[in-house]
Symmetry: C2
Subunit: 597 residues, 2 copies
């Protein structure tokens, strides 16, 4: 069974060298973030993920969750691993210390989240869902709700869920039928069926805190009449312990392509008692708090599976002996060369690697902005950070999951026939990675969100700031000859993005189909430029390190520069095709009559 090593060194390079996390010492929770603390957290996280979670990844997939009359049992080892997780304090890493959290930067949570998800994506979803629920309660809950539920979510004693989807409505939540009728005592009776509820029922925690979207009778129609409720599996006693069972239950778990070890539940609410979170009819606002964080988290899942697939493929490509290098035997002592000598294998490994390292940088860059948006004392800085995360969140969700899946498929190809059978574990990575393109808003919805909402918001302020930052970087290295191999292609790609933006402004505002037809291409085009910017920044730091003559990490920095060059020469040129597709407009996309398909 292949192994997983958390990319600790790479994360340290990003946190310290590229993004200089030390300069945020004025923010809450950042003061203690010394290199030593970071190293200790990353090493501990890596150890837990490698030794406790990853060994359960393949067995969890094969065993899956089981359902018996409303009771869900997770695969062997999951209960013990979850107990270790909460003992280690990992569930409250970035949460508010007032509710038992450690208050560390969200950025650290994001990188540890990648490790956890690589090691065992299905497992990582249980605490992942809890974090989303905790954030919604932290932002929108009453003090009593926080005391009752948030503290237990932070401690990990209880877990959380998000209940949005119903059989007939997913993206279009305005069609929702689940209703919440006032009981007269401040509580509501929740009735309806929700589907695709990840971690909706399981045996890891003594209580489950469901956050449920429902409509209060006589409220506004459609999406404007949706409210958010907290609906615990067990009603909570006065002393905070779980009491009477609430009128809700898991009706079934789905049989699905992957993430077999995470229970995807049909949840039935039969007049279950719930309490309003936030204001009446403002449930979508609260839900978007969860969804934005969740979307970044799903982007990280895409990266995490790409990283896992890369490591599996590299291990196999080093071990599998087959054929000889075209330029003559590289290992004449062996009956054949390892397949890593072949350029087409090498191309695949380089493509995955060049994506992973830049995607990780993109996550760190954006997670730091999330920290700023939450914790900066400066209103302008908070707003600019919010602009950034609003713009980049759909890109990270869409591009990191699309590309993460494609990379898992490419890594599987390295295994030949051995990649198609269960035993080598890589086919599981493909099946697991697939879901990330779908949930938390399918990637087509992310692209529409980007083009239809995020681009035009505030007169295009967020994108202008993005162009400003990238353009500023390019200008700042104009005299640095060694940087032109990176800044030059980046500048060309920026021009393609500018041209695409211009085209959308001229054509998409009056005719929304024109923007929508190119939305997916635009999302990927913006993603390519953002990844290229990450590579240019990383190359700059590595060139500096190499120039400083430090030999300790010579191999690391040389590999960074080589991978950056690969990205620029071999992956970035795709901006041209994306631009051409956007400019081709809606006519050819929409010309066929609905009935002609």
């Amino acid at each position: 069974m292949p192994t997983y090593q958390a990319p600790v060194r790479d994360v340290q390079f990003l946190l310290h060298d590229v993004f200089d996390i030390e300069r945020y010492g004025n923010l809450a929770g950042f003061a203690d973030v010394t290199p030593d603390l970071v190293a200790a957290i990353l090493e501990e996280a890596a150890k837990f993920c490698q030794e406790a979670l990853h060994p359960l990844n393949h067995s969890g997939d094969r065993e899956g969750c089981t359902f018996d009359d409303g009771v869900v049992t997770t695969p062997a080892g999951f209960r013990e691993a979850y107990a270790t997780l909460i003992e280690g304090g990992w569930t409250g890493l970035c949460s508010d210390p007032d509710y038992g959290g450690q208050g560390l930067p969200f950025t650290l949570g994001a990188v540890v989240g990648e490790f956890r998800s690589s090691a065992n994506m299905a497992f990582a979803m249980y605490p992942g869902l809890s974090e989303g629920a905790a954030q919604a309660l932290a932002k929108h809950g009453t003090p009593e709700q926080k005391e009752t539920y948030l503290t237990r979510l932070v401690s990990g004693e209880w877990t959380g869920t998000m209940n949005l989807t119903e059989p007939h409505c997913g993206t279009d939540l305005g069609l929702m039928r689940t209703r919440a009728e006032p009981n007269g005592d401040g509580s509501y009776a929740i009735t309806g069926t929700k589907i695709f509820i990840s971690a909706g029922e399981h045996d890891l925690s003594e209580n489950i805190v469901h956050l449920v979207l429902a409509k209060i009778p006589d409220g506004p129609g459609g999406i404007k009449g949706v409210s958010l409720f907290v609906v615990p599996k067990f009603l909570v006693n006065g002393d905070g312990t779980p009491g009477e069972r609430n009128a809700l239950g898991c009706g079934a778990i789905e049989n699905k392509m992957g993430i077999h070890a995470n229970a995807t539940c049909v949840m039935n609410y039969d007049g279950a008692t719930g309490w309003l979170v936030g204001e009446e009819h403002k449930g979508m606002r609260a839900m978007f708090t969860m969804m934005n964080a969740a979307r970044l988290g799903v982007g990280v899942q895409g990266l995490s599976q790409s990283e896992l697939a890369y490591q599996y493929a590299v291990e196999y490509a080093r071990e599998r002996l087959q054929g000889r290098a075209l330029t003559g035997p590289k290992h004449p002592d062996k009956p054949a060369d390892p397949i890593i000598v072949h350029p087409d294998i090498r191309r695949v490994l380089m493509e995955i690697r060049a994506f992973n390292e830049a995607a990780r940088a993109l996550v760190v860059w954006t997670a730091l902005r999330e920290d700023l948006a939450e914790r900066s004392p400066d209103a302008a800085e908070r707003q600019s950070a919010l602009d950034h995360t609003a713009l980049l969140t759909p890109v990270i969700k869409g591009v990191l999951t699309d590309t993460g899946f494609a990379n898992a498929v490419a890594a599987q190809q390295v295994f030949g026939g051995h990649g198609y059978i269960w035993d080598n574990a890589i086919e599981q990575v493909v099946r697991d990675a697939r879901i990330a393109m779908i949930y938390e808003g399918a990637n087509g919805v992310q692209a529409l969100d980007l083009v239809g909402r995020k681009l035009p918001a505030d007169g295009g302020r967020a994108l202008r700031a993005f162009f400003g930052e990238v353009g500023g970087f390019i200008a700042s290295v104009a005299d640095d000859e060694a940087m032109q191999a990176f800044a030059g292609p980046l500048a060309v790609a920026v021009k393609d993005l500018e041209a695409a933006t211009q085209w959308l402004m001229e054509n998409g505002l009056a005719a929304p189909d024109e923007a929508a037809a190119g939305s997916s291409d635009y999302m990927h085009l913006l993603g390519l430029v953002a990844l290229a910017y990450m590579w240019a920044m990383m190359a700059q730091k590595s060139l500096q390190a190499l120039g400083d003559g430090g030999t300790a990490d010579k191999g690391f920095h040389e590999a960074k520069c080589a991978t950056a060059r690969f990205f620029m020469e071999r992956m970035l040129p795709n901006t041209t095709t994306r631009l051409a597709c956007i400019r081709s407009g809606a006519a050819c996309v929409m010309s066929l009559d609905e009935t002609a398909f």
Copy 2:
């Protein structure tokens, strides 16, 4: 459960209008191929595939094959379906009438093969493997071998297999260990273990004819010492009936990602009795006879899953109500519009459709050349047809399976969360389609075969002929204004292909890594040009039909032209990126040391 409709109309357009199959009436087996006969065969095939095979597709996946002490049982319904298949005479459709076949054009077999594989890919592999074995015996077997084995393969009473792979050798067959020791009576004792043997054991037929590669002791080393043997599961009595059990058996079947209903077997040969097919040590030549046909067949599998995925996605996109069209409600009577109104959904459907129809044309075009290569009385025509199939076979295998899989994934995305669960059947299409990129030579191997062998062969004659034909077509429509929307982009793409070829000639001959690093991009670039040529030819015929004022098929031909335009505007521009990648060369691909991954 979604349904499948065989694309009979589309095939008729290709056979009669685009490729004018009637003009080959001078070839053996073509004389009887009247439009009426074609219609009858296609309708019968469609009926069988839709009604008998497709209903077993999803259930076959869920049940899978079972293994018990050497005995393999196929899923419920498979035995009956196989009996119906052979009753209908489908197994011998294109085989030599001297051995019980109907001798019809291979082209008809290819299009019927697409229907069968769309309807049930795992089932279709059983007769598919037999066809490969039959072809090898037809070409290389002795008259006695043909009488004994070929007649039963043609009738479908027995099925066949190909045994190449061993645990430590797949692509690199020179490492093979299975040995064949002369028994002194003209037979050999075959000993060794073969893996990944599709249809190696099952309950559909009374005997199984294994074609096995093995080494005769004291022969040349490596690939040059490999011979081919026919090794039946049951030795054959004097009267042709199955007799004593041979010393071979299925040791296990693989648990794998997809094609669950096709048994992928570990085959153990323990001194099994076999007979040489063809010459000693010339086994690879015979095996390539099977492989070339099999590679075209695997390309068709890629198309077949793309077509199935398309049909599933269209059905779902028409039924699923969610949101409103950006340009205002299209179905105001319904609670929401069907998602087919959304441009990003439409883009996905158009991309799959534009691929499928051109890929089908590419298969017909090339299958006709296979017929010519076999049956033309003119040596020059045979040679030119052989050149064509040699050049296009790796492209069809690689591009049709890569894109077919990508299309299955894109179609799954249309379903949102509903695409991830078993019940909607689309996730099976993704899992089944995945194998086609891997077996019969992984697609990276196809690309190397194309660039390393097929391009330079005979001084580049095959590619010159390809450029000549496409260029001739473009020139022939130079005065046809309506055709410029298709011929124009085609000409641009041809220039990219010429530039890429030029680059490979200048750089790849001296430094093979330079060619290998761009091989996959080159294969896809050539594929794009070939598909574009197909679209230009189809558009020409549809424009003519529309110009002739025939109204019966107006919708069909208008859709053809609209889809052709979509391909040209939205899919063909990718040639630019492919060319840029090829030109970036091997340096950036190979610069990282093996140990740095």
